[in-house]
Each structure stands twice: as structure tokens, then as C-alpha cells.
């Protein structure tokens, strides 16, 4: 199987085919990093692009992400065995009072695919819980997602809490979700904003350790 064929399987959302293809690539001697960057991440970039352009929709994006994860799963033991470093750790979650998680999950999967160690705190995450995760997990960055104009204020609370605890300089804070904008991110003092999951990967990449 050729790299492009595996990419197509990911784009089509064929998890079993992707896993099989990745195994073949390994057997053929391709390096883990090349498989991740050249196939998995590259396929998800295409998926992200097609989603942005309205050629595919949420279900297609989710099955592609699942296929990508199936490929990643084959590589995981090798990643750990080789002592290969993650890009770093990120903690993500949907803010307090907010149950919307599809966008946040996609961001998480894309980051995982790009080589981050992702800790997902789930939905309705209280500011204190983000704080606790920062203290315990020591991530390079945290990603806050909000889909409601009534809950996006919680992002500011998280930032304030980090500041108050003297942790603000130790962790980058990224925000996203439909009602959030670049302008809002700047206003509340976040380090970055991404309008979609594909862009989030690029923005987080700035903070790789």
C-alpha cells in the first residue's frame, strides 16, 4: 500500500484499513515520525480543509478522526519504546456550564494526531478543575472550548485564577469555539485563538516543548 492510499483511507474514515496500512508501512521500514507527519497529520489536514470548505460535514470529520486514531494506536507502543517525545502535554476541556463537546473532541484528536499528549477534562469543567490540572499535569498549554455566549466568560475566570495562583506565565492558554473570536481572545488576555481544529494544531505548535 502506498502512503497516498493510506491517506485516502483516513479521509474516507476506514479505521481498519488505516490500521492495516500503517502496519504495512512499518513493515516496509518507514520511520514512525514519517508515518505520523507524512500520512496521519497530512490526511487530517486535508479533512480539516474539506470541512472548512463545506465539502464534508461533522460525521465525515469524526470517522476520519477515528481512522487516524486507529493508525496512531498501532504506532503508540513504538512511540513509547523509542523514547520518542511527545510535542508536550496539553490539557483541554469545555468550560463550566457548557456541554457542547464535538468541536473540543475534534481539536483533541487533531492535537493527538499531531503528536501531543492530550489530557481531556471533558465538559462542564469548572475553573478550579483547570487550575488543578495545570498544577498536577504541568502542561505546556491548555485549550478552553465554549459554544455558548453565556459560558465564554468562564475563560476569563480561568485566566484570572491562573494569574492569582502565580501560574499564568507557566502555561499558554488557547481558546476556541463558535462564539469566541480573535478579538475576544485578546481582550481576555489569552495567548491564542483558533477558529477550527486544523488551525488549532498550528497555533498549539508554537508552544511545543
Amino acid at each position: 500500500m502506498r502512503a497516498n492510499e493510506i491517506k485516502d483511507l483516513i479521509i474516507k474514515g476506514d479505521a481498519a484499513g488505516t490500521a492495516w496500512g500503517v502496519e504495512e508501512m512499518l513493515a516496509a521500514g518507514l520511520a514512525v515520525d514519517d508515518i505520523i507527519q507524512g500520512i496521519l497529520v497530512s490526511a487530517m489536514n486535508v479533512v480539516g480543509e474539506r470541512f472548512r470548505e463545506g465539502q464534508i460535514f461533522v460525521p465525515e470529520m469524526l470517522i476520519a478522526a477515528r481512522a487516524m486514531k486507529a493508525g496512531l494506536k498501532i504506532l503508540e507502543p513504538l512511540i513509547l519504546q523509542a523514547g520518542r517525545k511527545y510535542l508536550g502535554k496539553v490539557v483541554i476541556g469545555t468550560v463550566k456550564g457548557d456541554l457542547h463537546d464535538i468541536g473540543k473532541n475534534l481539536v483533541g484528536t487533531m492535537l493527538q494526531g499531531a503528536g501531543w499528549d492530550v489530557v481531556d477534562l471533558g465538559v462542564d469543567v469548572a475553573p478550579e478543575k483547570f487550575l488543578k490540572a495545570v498544577k498536577e499535569q504541568k502542561p505546556a498549554a491548555i485549550g478552553l472550548s465554549a459554544l455558548l455566549s453565556t459560558t465564554m466568560g468562564s475563560m476569563k475566570t480561568v485566566l484570572g485564577l491562573l494569574e492569582q495562583e502565580g501560574l499564568r506565565s507557566q502555561v499558554k492558554v488557547l481558546v476556541g469555539g463558535a462564539p469566541v473570536s480573535e478579538k475576544y481572545a485578546t481582550e481576555i488576555g489569552a495567548d491564542g485563538y483558533a477558529p477550527d481544529a486544523g488551525t488549532a494544531v498550528h497555533v498549539f505548535a508554537r508552544y511545543a516543548s
Partner: protein, 336 residues
């Protein structure tokens, strides 16, 4: 001209004193009359009293029984929490596995808890203001209900992984929604609104397979029972506008992300478009001047039967002068 006459005439494309104000009111209503949120969801008397006050004070033209998406989930046996002063929360999915599908009992709306409460709300509306206002019942559309029961992430994968099981679930949801809609019509609802926001995440093929056919059957049942149907799919529905017009709905809501002129053209001859300024940036955060501009822009784009609303629910913390500004813009529009 009262609201009932206004809506009827406008839908028929006949002259009106002003276009009907069809905004969706939920969490805003209890806040407006100083009642805790939970009472609005659990007690039809609070829902009716608060909506009547809002309709009178802000010149709305429809009295709605819409409140939250979880009435049916509750009556199916799902766990829904009602925080004292917040919107209801359903964080645990009732149908975790399709193996449990046979256990899913379709509820009898008359013996249920929350749908029965809604039916009583319609009866009360009818007594209090039935000759003056059109009364709108509400149900989840079958696809949205399937999502409420099983979870959004799950259904988004089911469309590929378990299409047949999903159709079985959708049949159950359809039956429950038809019963709920017909009971509301018998109680006095003039129109039935149905929410299918989750369907906005599907592309045309999947929308055509899993959402549209069930909307069509629900709407046919609403018509047969003698009421009008209003389809509400918020989100960016540009890719499915052409299919939505085939739903049979008399009114189709249009969220702010869609080009309203395009929507009005697409629905011409099929349904009245209802939309479509941004509920957050324009209504909640905008100024009366910006609201007037947005309302007039919609009216300019529309036809003789076009209805006006923000793309979705009026946000809780909307300043009162902004909601007033919508009514004033409708009243002052110079080109009816």
C-alpha cells in the same frame, strides 16, 4: 389587527400593518418576570404567564410552548436535572447501547410528566389569549430527539456504523413526536414548531437519509391534525436549504449564518422563510440602531410572506431596549 390575523394574512402574502415578530423566547421569559429558571421548565403556569408578559411588552406575535430540548427525554425515562436558576441539563444518555432499544417505551403524552405539562400550558394559553394570538406547540424533530436520547457524538458515528439501528430509533422518536404534536394540537395549538438543530451538522446526503424523511412524516401528521408546521434548524444550513424546503413545513426558520435572500428565494412557493439576524452579536450585544438596520435588511430581502426573528433563541441577558427595538423596527418599516 391582532397577532392571529397578522400571522394568517402574512403567511397568505396579504397586506399587514407590520410583519409578525416571531422570535423564540425561552430562558429570557422567567428572568423577565423575576421567576427562577427551574419553574419555567417545570410549571406550565410560569411558562404561560411569563410568555404572555413578554409577548405583550415586546409585541411578539406567537405564544410558544418551547422551553428546552429535554421534555421528551424526561418522559422516555431519561435523567434531566433542573438547577434552580439555570437551564435544564441532561448529561447522561438514556440509550447507551442499541441493545436497550426494545426497552425504550413510547410515552403516552397524556400520562407523561413534562409533555403533559406542555399540553396544559397550551390549554391555558388557549383560555387566556387564544382568540388574539397564534399558539405554538413544540416538539423535537425525530433526528434531534435521537441525539437527545443517545448523544451527539454517538449519533454522528451511527449514521455510518449503525444506519439500520438508527432508523429503528428514529421510528420510535417519530411516533413519540407525532403523539406529542397531535395532543398539543387537540389542546389548541395552531401551529407546531419542531427543532432539528443537530441535523444542521449533516451534509445533504445524510440529511436526506436520516432527518428529512422523518421531518416530512411528522409534518404530514401535524397537517392532518389541522395545524401548521414550523421547522427550526439553527446553524449554517446553506448546504441543505434545498432539501429543507421539501419538508412540507409552512414556516422554515433561517439562522443568521445563512444568506437570507437566498433562503427566501429557495423557499418561495414552498414555505415562508423566518429569520434571520444574529441573536448574540445583534440582539444581545448590539444597539437599537444596529437592530433596526438588521431587521430592515431582512425585510428588504424577503417576500410578502416573510417572517422575522433572530436566528435562534433570544439570549437570556438581552437588554430590554434591544428586544423593544425589534418591535419598533417592524412597526416603522416603510416598505410593506
Amino acid at each position: 389587527m391582532n397577532s392571529k390575523e397578522r400571522l394568517t394574512r402574512r403567511l397568505a402574502g396579504k397586506p399587514v400593518d407590520r410583519a409578525p415578530n416571531c422570535n423564540l423566547i425561552m430562558a429570557f421569559a422567567p428572568l423577565y418576570i423575576g421567576k427562577p429558571q427551574s419553574q419555567f421548565y417545570l410549571d406550565y403556569k410560569v411558562l404561560v404567564e411569563s410568555n404572555l408578559r413578554v409577548a405583550k411588552d415586546f409585541d411578539l406575535d406567537i405564544l410558544g410552548a418551547i422551553s428546552d430540548p429535554f421534555r421528551e427525554v424526561f418522559d422516555f425515562g431519561g435523567k434531566v436535572e433542573f438547577p434552580e436558576d439555570d437551564i435544564p441539563l441532561c448529561s447522561d444518555n438514556l440509550l447507551k447501547s442499541y441493545e436497550d432499544l426494545p426497552k425504550l417505551q413510547i410515552f403516552d403524552p397524556y400520562r407523561s410528566t413534562r409533555m403533559q405539562d406542555r399540553i396544559q400550558g397550551i390549554e391555558l394559553y388557549k383560555r387566556e389569549a387564544g382568540s388574539e394570538y397564534p399558539i405554538m406547540g413544540w416538539v423535537e424533530a425525530p433526528f434531534a430527539e435521537a441525539v437527545d436520547l443517545r448523544g451527539m457524538n454517538e449519533i454522528m458515528l451511527d449514521v455510518y456504523d449503525h444506519p439500520e439501528k438508527l432508523h429503528q430509533l428514529l421510528e420510535i422518536c417519530l411516533e413519540a413526536e407525532i403523539r406529542s404534536a397531535v395532543a398539543q394540537i387537540k389542546a389548541g395549538a395552531d401551529l407546531i414548531g419542531m427543532g432539528d438543530a443537530a441535523a444542521s451538522l449533516l451534509g445533504p446526503d445524510l440529511f436526506g437519509a436520516f432527518a428529512l424523511p422523518y421531518e416530512q412524516r411528522l409534518i404530514a401528521a401535524v397537517h392532518e391534525a389541522g395545524a401548521l408546521a414550523r421547522l427550526h434548524i439553527c446553524g449554517n444550513t446553506t448546504a441543505i436549504l434545498n432539501l429543507m424546503k421539501l419538508s412540507g413545513a409552512d414556516i422554515i426558520d433561517v439562522d443568521w449564518k445563512v444568506n437570507f435572500k437566498l433562503a427566501c428565494e429557495t423557499y418561495r412557493g414552498y414555505a415562508a422563510a423566518c429569520g434571520n439576524f444574529d441573536p448574540v452579536a445583534v440582539v444581545q450585544q448590539g444597539t437599537p440602531a444596529r437592530i433596526r438596520e438588521a431587521v430592515w435588511k431582512c425585510l428588504d430581502a424577503g417576500d410578502a410572506n416573510t417572517l422575522i426573528m433572530a436566528g435562534c433563541e433570544i439570549p437570556l441577558s438581552t437588554p430590554h431596549e434591544n428586544l423593544k427595538a425589534i418591535a419598533e423596527a417592524l412597526r416603522d418599516y416603510p416598505r410593506y
